[in-house]
């Protein structure tokens, strides 16, 4: 699977209600992974650690994202920051384990999926 199969996909809840579009995919770099747990024939550990898909960044109004304003505390230039935050109002972080089904261009969440507000968890 390529990342491009997920990006820009529509996200639906279990009743088919549209939640938005995947504007980004969040990975966690996990340095303590057991190499024996990796899929056979694939070595994915690196000096950075294993990059494991954790969650989907979903925006209800747009498929695009610009410099991550909606998920950071950056507030300058103020007009751009306000415009982009307004454009991404209602954006949320959906856990990968709550994905029920993948279809081309569509991701369906399971009942009772967890949604978190976007917070400033980025290193930069």
């Amino acid at each position: 699977m390529n990342l491009g199969d997920l990006l820009d996909s529509r996200v639906l809840d279990d009743s088919g209600r549209r939640l938005g579009f995947i504007i980004d995919v969040r990975f966690l770099l996990d340095e303590d992974d057991d190499p024996a747990a990796e899929p056979p024939g694939e070595t994915v550990a690196s000096p950075l650690g294993t990059a494991r898909l954790d969650s989907l960044v979903v925006s209800p109004h747009t498929r695009t994202s610009f410099m991550g304003y909606e998920r950071s505390n950056v507030s300058a230039p103020i007009f751009i920051a306000r415009l982009l935050r307004w454009r991404h109002r209602g954006s949320q972080l959906l856990q990968w384990v709550d994905v029920a089904r993948l279809e081309p261009g569509v991701v369906r969440m399971r009942r009772g999926y967890r949604a978190e507000e976007l917070t400033d968890q980025l290193d930069e």
Binding site: V25, R52, P104
Partner: protein, 140 residues
Amino acid sequence: MIKRVIDARLHLLDRQVLDRNGIPISTVADLELTDVPFEQELTGSEPAPVIVNLLSGPVLATRVFGGRPPSSRWYRIPWNAITEIGVAVDLAVEGDTLDVTWVERWIRDRVIGRIPGGSGKRSASDRPDVRAERTEGGDT
């Protein structure tokens, strides 16, 4: 222990890739992940996908018209070759060892290298020490 959060589009896609000598070799066009079944119900107990390769390839047309290049057209840079992700993506290997640079290597060896003076080897008259000796010896 979790070290770091990476948002793929924000931190990886379209970043420049530098080899171990700091030479630009490519940009990140897409990421290859371990497979997840499409059009099947997921239980949540399946292992989460992990990044296996950075992908680079002919994406101009597909970005304009949609779709994506076939798997055979991608050049792959293994995730375990990456040492740092910052403004650029740094690798631990030399660019010449990766498939993604084959066009540059082919043009260097087959075209540029056959042009007189294009092989990268300096002739004796270009060397500063030889020029200095000639000047001292009255060579004009």
